[in-house]
Assembly symmetry: none
DNA sequence: ATCTTGATTAGCGGGACGGAATTCAAGATA
DNA sequence: TATCTTGAATTCCGTCCCGCTAATCAAGAT
């Protein structure tokens, strides 16, 4: 067998280059959580474009309801400890009932904020949007959920998923905000 | 000035030993998120006891990351379109009001399941725990959240993340389930 | 035309090292 | 004596280095 002459230096060969990485020291108890987070980050394989939230507004009405926190637990939760809680008053700002809606989210663009596909969010249209708020905006005629912020001094909609790119609004362009997200509701069963 | 002779070898000196750590490679785009998470993890030693639920750092269940709905999916959003929704009836099963509780989660151990520090979860004590449910269990006298399942024919608390080790309950050992988690509520503002 | 196999390139994890952080206690100071 | 300053000790954190592994390409063999 003569000395083989496979391969050879050529461009494009080798393991495909990915995103550069850094190494962070993580406490052992938090290692699984971080790995799970990174797994989830790698899961949605190149989800092409941020999908807008599906439009599903619904008004909120008030009824009675009782709920309690388990006994023997003082502290922060004392607010509701041994108290009956009405979820409507608990989740909706007083007086904002007519302007509060529920919207079901589709897409992964806000995974970094803990908002996942198929989650529901409570949106308050009466709140004045502030820097850092998660808002429902109208982009290209579609509802989209992003974090309101700035980029290079310009108003921008920042997704919480590096797979997606921020939307920057320059002078003259108008950012239409539909409402401010106040809570996220996820069904676990 | 003569050569100083401060200090000296003695036990107990030096930076206090903390939890051992591991190094994890993190994609550059996710470095800020992970660092923010670790900061938040180290933060709250302020208030000690007054937390309703203290979650064991070793218990995490993956739930939210498993829900992936492809694009499109009409009909889901049409469910409550233009309907008035009462949050109590929307979030609590009919007739289960007396046995439904709100528990505030402390700690960042549930980030893998999309449940973060200071989130609230709705727990239904009247639901019969089923295979695959996320349950609030009493482990070593503390409330813990995991997914209920079986391993080798034994009842077990199974994390969906392979990085976690399941807790298997053998004959004679009793698994005390406090309730079934039905919803997760996160305040975003 | 397809399979096998060597070569190539990059990610991943462990060892090691320097700087930073934090605590203790000796000396200096009032 | 009580308090402040400061050096020493000890550990953590980020980074460099390096070998192993994974993934891909293309030349030869079938």
């Amino acid at each position: 067998m003569p000395p083989s002459d496979h391969g050879g230096s050529r461009p494009g060969a080798g393991r495909p280059a990915g995103e550069p990485s850094q190494r962070i020291r993580v406490p052992e108890s938090q290692v699984p959580a971080v790995l799970a987070y990174l797994d989830a980050y790698r899961k949605p394989p190149a989800l092409e474009e941020p999908r807008p939230v599906s439009l599903d507004p619904s008004t909120v009405a008030l009824t009675a309801f009782t709920s309690r926190v388990p006994a023997g637990v003082p502290g922060v939760a004392d607010a509701h400890a041994d108290e009956a809680v009405d979820l409507n008053t608990h989740l909706v700002l007083p007086g904002h009932e007519p302007s509060t809606f529920i919207i079901r989210v589709s897409g992964w663009s806000m995974i970094g904020a803990g908002i996942f596909d198929n989650d529901e969010v409570i949106v308050d249209r009466a709140l004045k949007p502030r820097q850092g708020d998660i808002v429902v905006a109208i982009v290209n005629g579609e509802l989209s959920i992003k974090r309101l912020g700035t980029l290079d001094g310009q108003v921008a909609l920042l997704p919480e998923n590096a797979h997606f790119k921020p939307i920057v609004f320059r002078e003259g362009e108008t950012l239409e905000i539909w409402g401010v997200v106040t809570r996220c509701l996820r069904a676990l069963r």
